[in-house]
């Protein structure tokens, strides 16, 4: 998983039928230098995330400005199937999904040096 900020959305009409109804978000991952030590929520006081954009399925009605956790691979499909229908098979053509809207991050950047 990674921590990122939602920066926008993507629309498409031509797509796999299994992906119908799924909202797609653009999420920018935070790098070590982007996250202010001890910050409560990455908001105005935080740096902008600088890593490459990732397109993610949204399962939590997240929107631009939200800080989120994104899961990859099978974990992303498990999260999406939770939303589609109870007990739905995780066979959607998705490999990244927002799985949490972050309330709080505690970080000691010095520990990573």
């Amino acid at each position: 998983m990674f921590l990122g900020r939602v920066t926008g959305t993507v629309w498409s009409t031509v797509k796999w039928p299994q992906a119908k109804g799924l909202k797609l978000l653009l999420v920018r991952p935070y790098r070590l230098g982007d996250v202010a030590p001890g910050q409560v929520r990455a908001g105005a006081e935080a740096s902008e995330p600088t890593d490459d954009l990732v397109v993610c399925a949204d399962t939590l009605d997240a929107g631009p400005g939200d800080d989120v956790l994104v899961a990859f691979g099978h974990a992303a499909r498990v999260a999406v199937s939770e939303k589609l229908a109870p007990g739905a098979k995780p066979d959607v053509p998705i490999d990244a999904a927002v799985v949490a809207v972050v309330d709080r991050v505690e970080i000691d950047r010095e520990a990573g040096r």
Binding site: R31, L60, H74, V78, V99, V101
Partner: protein, 90 residues
């Protein structure tokens, strides 16, 4: 797997059901020279790793095997998990 240092923790109340009860740590990945690469990974922790600990992080089905070993773990929502707390390397 990757090697990294635990630098913090993440909390969220609005989350997928599969994340309930998971401790989520922020890990600063290290590059080939052992320096922080700048990449941050969020991983589930069941080993009680602390900030400052050197750890290895497993991804994919390897990560699910940390949370629940065995074939019947594909219902788990987990793509990264702390697999070991590193004590030394040669």
């Amino acid at each position: 797997m990757i090697r990294g240092t635990v630098v913090g923790q993440v909390w969220a109340t609005r989350k997928a059901r599969g994340l309930d009860g998971q401790t989520l740590l922020m890990i600063a990945a290290r590059d080939a020279d052992g320096n922080p690469s700048g990449r941050l990974v969020v991983a589930a922790d069941v080993l009680d790793a602390r900030v400052g600990d050197e750890v290895t992080v497993a991804f994919g089905s390897g990560a699910r095997n940390v949370l629940r070993p065995g074939a019947e773990n594909r219902d788990l929502l987990c793509d990264a998990a702390v697999a070991a707390i590193v004590e030394g390397e040669g």
